[in-house]
Amino acid sequence: MGFIPFRTPRLPLIPVLAVLGLCASPSRGESSPLSIHPEGFGLEVSGYNAREKGMGEAGLASVNRLGPSLPNPSKTAFNEKTSFSATFDTDVDWLRDSETSNRTTAFLIPDIALNFQTRWPLNVGLFYRQRFDRNFTFTPAVPNDPDAIQSFTTEGGIYELAATLAYAPKPYLALALGYHFLLGRERTIESAAFNQNPSNEDLFNGQNLSGDTLSVRSNGSYPSVSMTFRQKTYSLAASGALGATLDRTLTRTITNLSTTEKREESRDLPWTVQVGGAYKPRSNQSVAVDFAYEAWDDAFSGLLNPAFRAGAGYEFQGAGSPYEPYFRKVAYRGGLGFERLYLGETDLYFVTLGTGLPLGRRGNVLDVALKYGHRGSLENNLWTEDFLKLSVTLTGVSVWGQPVRKRR
């Protein structure tokens, strides 16, 4: 009798498909005028999967022993199986404007994660995540000057690769350490068409500014730590990350001029802290609350401000018995939240609904969340924006990579 370290891996079909989907998909997320600000990095993308998103983006401390968790890797130490997850976001955004229609749809893969269960109470997590997202395109319906029709596009974001190590020294306590690498690819393109006005013969035969393009490449890294304290009816969790310094290379080109000129600079991402609590009034119900804080300051730009988020949600878990009808096994969720974004003291209110659909008997699940949000700038009150976002997370569990007993 003996052990071999790992079972021979079966084809991880779903993770492979998820990665292929990532490669093929356009990298776009929420469309918002907030993306325009060079002082920022675009909109921050939630690290939660669709389960927590359906609970008002709360659930830091809600342990379900299933799937990876990027906001709180420590709770994966309570998992029983190796798991993976991939999340897909699609949303419709619209500026509140009665004169013009500025609705956009967007699609994003915010994260893909793998969490390996080892023979010890130790989990290794590997994550891809989009941390920030720039996505906004605008061309005014009525230009300021008929000779110069300007338009603006920004795209790209900050992407993150992370590795975490989660360990449960006690059945009620789990700790995790993580290290995160940031890679940024952002672009803003400002264009102007000058040849659209036949009454100006000169400019009608002029050249357009096809793109005053600023490309930013950046990289950086930071460590993180998290902890979960679990009891039968409640649990508490906290996670935090140190700030990171992004080394950025900025390249600018305009039409007919390919500059090789580059500028180097560094920008800071702030430290963050997040706390959460979860209460289980019954064995199949959970109530979760979260609070997160990001220490943005205005040292670099007055546009930046400390950001925080508060969310609360509820989950009714479906029956776990394989003999129950399918609809009894479905989970239902709801939540709401408030967020002060880090740019321009913009407030975001949102409500969420969600469900968890079991897939087979192994524990695989498809979580779906719907989020309706409304945000606007307090500072100048020049715009407000609504969006409706659909998030889908596919979570798969397996014994892949786990130690198994050797068969005789």
């Binding site: 605008f138 300021n144 102007a192 009894r328 020049l382």
Partner: protein
């Protein structure tokens, strides 16, 4: 116990706490949803973008700068070699003069039999006058000089260099033919640089009704006599047709368009021919009596011509393709722009103190206007002039933007430039030398020698005090770049001024139709933008050049932003062509002589610059 519901409710109906929680959740959810749906400011995102400086409220500045001083200007002759051209120029008109060159090889010695006898007119040179399908009347008019005095005739000196295959093998003969063709037909050697001709004849060509007949044949008695001396050998005959100035009185100015490479068979009537026997014209002469020009190694017939111009050096020419280079000073232009903006109560954009690029503005449109002192357009044809924008890398002085100037002592050779392997700028491919040699007390030889690409070697002869312009290419620099040399022969040294035209690009000449948006390609709609007689200024688009000049801070430092007013290859347009379907403008197919004189104030030149500026954000 009843049946279980299909959908299980999240809150137990039997639990009081659950009911309270459900009610609280429902209320909170409704409040939040109503907050989301409440009205916002109902404003476009565009206003937000404007406030953040992304959409500009005043996106365009329109400036019209009058009398911008030109930092420097000069002209470049881009007149290519006319070897094998179908139309040749010969004669003189105004400050233009043209020599035609022909090469004949007589291999059928039986043709010489018809020269025997006492009749000195049994060898004739036949020259063709092909009628033009377009602009024939104007062509006839161009044989008149500017004084409009109708000329009856014009006299030419017919110089002939003749050699035979006496005591030579076939290979030696072929080599001699190739060498002679290269020297006498292909290269533009001056008469001073050539040996004494074997024979010199004089002919007179009728001018007034030149194009009424397909050809004119004139006797060459001295050449006939020379050929009779070697009846049993092959002959190679190089002929140069040079106009005789001044006398007699009836040989006034006239520039004839002669047939050159006019094809084979009956079409040879219009090409230069040697007629053997008693033939009055090429028409009807049997093939055995007609000797057409030979084919050179390049497959072209051995015909060529050279045009010279003795007028002011700053003039733009057609017939001889000469363009005017205009160099503007970037800093002076920026100062003018800033001053004009302040007059408009606008704040000029700041310019970077360092770096290679200045992206304060994008230039969507710009044009240059060159004031003209006058123009003489032969046939009153409108002319198509192009503006070529380029960056001239100076190869030498990259501090103050001066043109590279070198001196080569007599009997010395010096490496003045290097060319590089394409794609490998660190590896020298050629050392390019210029040697200056003595031919005699008044004549010098300039040798241009490439250490590897010997096919680019060139030799020119200059009388002491003479200036000549050469163009060549240097590998390893941007595509289409070319090196222009202006050499001045001194008694003891040669002065070489050179500049490399890099990244040349022709500014668009087409315009879009405002009604349809389509690019105008029909000639009749385009000709209104051409240069017409009596026009006092020449305006051309210069968008790309002004863009490059403003956006690159090293303009006037490591390179010169060059605006070249260059006549199109077939510059003259006939607006009155009638092919049976109405007037359809068409390019005149023969070389037309035109002189366009820029308006100089003293020795200085000013231009007008009109441009639009789109301010770009600092980013």
């Amino acid at each position: 116990m009843g049946a279980k519901p299909i959908f299980s409710l999240p809150f137990s109906r039997r639990s009081a706490g659950g009911r309270v929680a459900a009610a609280a959740f429902a209320v909170a959810f409704s409040c939040c949803l109503s907050a989301c749906i409440s009205d916002g400011p109902n404003k476009t995102g565009g206003e937000y973008l404007s406030q953040n400086g992304i959409l500009l409220e005043n996106p365009l500045y329109h400036l019209s700068l009058k009398g911008v001083p030109v930092d420097s200007f000069w002209t470049t002759d881009l007149d290519g070699n006319h070897l094998g051209d179908s139309i040749l120029l010969a004669g003189h008109s105004g400050d233009f003069s043209a020599e035609a060159r022909f090469a004949f090889q007589l291999t059928d010695t039986s043709m010489l039999d018809s020269l025997a006898g006492d009749d000195s007119t049994t060898l004739k040179l036949s020259l063709g006058f092909p009628p033009s399908r377009f602009a024939l009347e104007e062509l006839k008019a161009t044989v008149d000089d500017s004084s409009k005095t109708t000329q009856d005739s014009i006299r030419f000196q017919v110089s002939a260099w003749e050699t035979t295959d006496t005591a030579t093998s076939d290979a030696q003969w072929a080599q001699r033919v190739a060498e002679w063709n290269r020297r006498y037909v292909r290269n533009e050697d001056t008469l001073a640089a050539l040996p004494e001709p074997s024979t010199v004849d004089t002919i007179t060509l009728a001018v007034k009704d030149a194009y009424a007949h397909p050809s004119q044949a004139r006797a060459l008695p001295r050449l006939r006599k020379r050929l009779l001396a070697s009846m049993r050998y092959k002959h190679l005959i190089q002929i140069r047709l040079s106009p005789i100035f001044g006398t007699p009185i009836d040989s006034g100015a006239a520039m004839l368009r002669l047939g050159g490479q006019q094809g084979d068979g009956s079409g040879l009537t219009y090409g230069p021919l040697l007629l053997f026997g008693k033939r009055d014209s090429a028409t009807g002469a049997p093939a055995a009596a007609r000797l057409p020009t030979l084919y050179t190694n390049s497959g072209l017939r051995g015909v060529n011509y050279s045009v010279r111009y003795t007028g002011p050096e700053a003039n733009i020419l057609t017939g001889k393709w000469r363009g005017l280079h205009v160099i503007l000073d970037r800093k002076a232009l920026l100062d003018s722009i800033d001053a004009d903006l302040r007059r408009q109560n606008r704040t000029p954009q700041p310019h970077p103190a360092s770096g290679d690029f200045d992206v304060a503005y994008f230039v969507p449109f710009a044009k240059l206007t060159l004031p003209l002192a006058g123009s003489a357009l032969e046939g009153n044809f409108p002319l198509e002039i192009k503006l070529i924008s380029s960056a001239d890398s100076l190869l030498g002085d990259e501090t103050n933007g001066a043109i590279k100037e070198d001196r080569v002592p007599l009997e010395k050779a010096e490496v003045l430039w290097n060319s590089f392997e394409p794609g490998n700028p660190g590896k020298i491919r050629n050392d390019v030398k210029v040697a200056y040699r003595t031919v005699d007390s008044t004549l010098r030889r300039v040798e241009l020698a490439f250490s590897q690409d010997s096919s680019l070697n060139d030799t020119v002869f200059l009388a002491v005090g003479q200036t000549k312009q050469l163009t060549t290419t240097l590998s390893g620099y941007p595509v289409n770049s070319f090196l222009t040399l202006k050499v001045e022969a001194g008694t003891d040294s040669l002065t070489v001024r050179s500049y490399l035209t890099a990244h040349p690009g022709t500014e668009p000449g087409e315009f879009r139709d405002p009604a349809t948006g389509e690019t105008i390609t029909e000639m009749e709609k385009r000709v209104k933008r051409f240069l017409y007689p009596k026009q006092t200024e020449l305006t051309l688009r210069a968008t790309n050049g002004i863009q490059r000049m403003l956006n690159r801070t090293r303009s006037n430092k490591t390179f010169l932003p060059d605006f070249q007013f260059q006549p199109a290859f077939s510059a003259a347009i006939d607006t009155s062509v009638d092919l049976g379907s109405g007037n359809i403008p068409a390019a005149v197919p023969y070389p037309v002589l035109s002189v366009v004189s820029p308006k100089l104030e003293g020795n200085r030149l000013k231009v007008d610059v009109e441009l639009y500026l789109f301010p770009l954000k600092a980013r």
